[in-house]
């Protein structure tokens, strides 16, 4: 039996039912669509801010400040991306996300401290090798803890936002205290590896080597997330799930299984961010994670809950604004975060990018 191969265009249909002709004329079914409009305004914010500040500072200072801002922004993005993705997909807000940041940093010391001698060698390869090992260990451990945390602490309170907030906060308090029990209550010093100390000079501008590394790592993480989300089946599932989890289930996918994986991945990212943050500050304290959480929340709010791209822009924006403001008007620098957040929310009340159903 043959099927018809054409859906008749509006004006050709001789018996358009018994309804009277529709007063509005329709384009024929084969009219090309307007090209997909990409929302590029937020993308322009970061370069816009950077360029806006240029007249007010000398070029070398500008370079230093911008790289510092980008570095901090990248680290914050790594720490925040897990939180926003977990929220977008699972509607779970993990107020204890900071715990994974701290745990990641402290776990890394299990590799970094015994292998101190390798870090003192002035060889980039040796240093990066040890760092890579430390980061891997940290990420594996935080992923495992994240997996356990999701199953034990969070799963019983799915859908109950109030309890989630309280319980995850409790989880963070307990983990910080446990860190003190296991590693002791004093600060742990984490000096930079030898080959990453100091700065390179572009003319008069000083660019710290570690910050450069942070920018590179951040870009790699973002690129990896972008590729996974846009080019793999799992990424497709995640993107669809963020938009409408119910529909994904109605298509036969057991989306709950995906949740645990995404949560563990988010925790691992937080761990990675923690290691880098710890090295950036060169000391570790148990509450380093919760210290940073306020900034992470601001970034997630600015970027839009559930949007990785928004999170990226938000992180860079916040770090740059803080750096520039602290340089130009130190007292204002303290509240620049809040001012930025309010400004963005006034422009787009749900953050830069809106994902899924609000």
């Amino acid at each position: 039996m043959t099927t018809s191969t054409r859906v008749p265009a509006a004006q050709e249909n001789p018996d358009a039912g018994t309804a009277p002709p529709h007063p509005v004329s329709l384009p024929p079914a084969d009219t090309p669509l307007p090209a997909a409009r990409r929302d590029i305004l937020p993308l322009l914010l970061v370069p816009a801010v950077a360029l806006a500040v240029l007249p007010f500072v000398s070029l070398p200072s500008w370079v230093t400040l911008t790289v510092a801002g980008l570095a901090m922004g990248m680290m914050m993005f790594i720490m925040a991306s897990g939180l926003t993705l977990v929220f977008g997909l699972m509607s779970v807000l993990n107020f204890g996300h900071g715990a994974f940041i701290s745990v990641g940093a402290y776990t890394a010391t299990l590799v970094l401290l015994p292998m101190r001698s390798w870090l003192e060698m002035d060889s980039l390869a040796a240093n990066l090798g040890v760092l890579g090992l430390a980061v891997t260990v940290a990420m594996v451990v935080t992923a495992l803890i994240g997996w356990a945390f999701e199953r034990i602490v969070i799963m019983p309170v799915y859908g109950q936002h109030l309890k989630q907030i309280l319980i995850t906060m409790g989880g963070m308090i307990v983990s910080e205290q446990l860190i003190n029990v296991i590693w002791g209550a004093e600060q742990i010093a984490l000096p930079l590896p030898a080959s990453l100390r100091g700065a390179i000079f572009l003319g008069d501008a000083a660019i710290e080597k570690f910050r450069l590394l942070a920018v590179v790592v951040g870009l790699l993480v973002f690129a990896a997330m972008f590729l996974v989300l846009n080019r793999t089946r799992i990424g497709l599932l995640i993107r669809a799930g963020v938009e409408n989890g119910e529909m994904v289930e109605a298509m036969g996918y057991r989306i709950r299984r995906l949740f645990v994986g995404v949560f563990a991945a988010g925790s691992a990212l937080a761990g990675l961010g923690g290691v880098m943050w710890g090295m950036y500050k060169e000391t570790l304290v148990a509450h380093m994670g919760s210290e940073v959480m306020v900034l992470v929340f601001i970034i997630v709010i600015i970027g839009g809950l559930g949007s990785v791209g928004g999170c990226f822009i938000g992180a860079l924006l916040m770090a740059l604004v803080t750096n520039y403001a602290s340089f130009l008007a130190p007292k204002f620098g303290l509240v620049s975060n809040i001012v930025l957040m309010i400004a963005i929310l006034l422009w787009r009340p749900a953050g830069l990018y809106v994902k899924g159903r609000q």
Partner: protein
Amino acid sequence: MAHPNMPDTVPGPGAREPILTLSGVHTHIGQYHILQGVDLVVPRGGLAVLLGRNGAGKTTTLRTIMGLWKAGSGSIVFDGRDITKLDTPDIARAGIAYVPESMAVFSELTVRENLYLAARSGPLDDARVDWICGFFPALKKFWNYPAGNLSGGQKQMVAIARAIVEPRKLLLVDEPTKGLAPAIVQSLMKAFRELKDTSTTILLVEQNFNVVRTLGDSVSVMDDGRVVHAGPMHDLAGDETLQQRLLGLSLDSHQ
């Protein structure tokens, strides 16, 4: 033409059995008792229509079948299997596809990605793509556009196309023509007519009787959370008094 992935079916012993039976299904949403004992029978093959005015419980019935809302009591039997207590993904895997009234397509994903996601049993090969585009030729044009950029009618086409990517025994469709221009409604109905000839059963929820009177094979009418009438379509279509009583409309051809 049958679905390229569908094995050649020989009418089995259950071929005369209804494909879906709801018995005494009650659904509560919060404090609201929406479904108050729904008895619904969907015959195998063809297109069954579920009519009723706003608030009668039609959407709730579909969502309950799909497991998105759990029935408080009663039973739902699909193709000989009790699916009342199953989770939504398992119900979908049993062979039921759902096309909701709104927010059916993933706006951020392209048309291609929407269909690709639906292809769970294997890669979306050309044979399948051609078969689907046989129903909706316009899809080929919007293949790489984000589904959110499409018009209402086009989105519905994508939603229905997506529902038939996998071979399905039952398609649940919720008011697909709502808010669409009559020309688009015509093309959708044509697609349904063609789908009927495959071995897929369709359960179509509609408010507009005119649209389905020549399309449906059987009809059930809901009111206040219960099915108040069920029978062959031509019986209802030919009986104006019955139509007025059940549907409360003066069913002029100008509706």
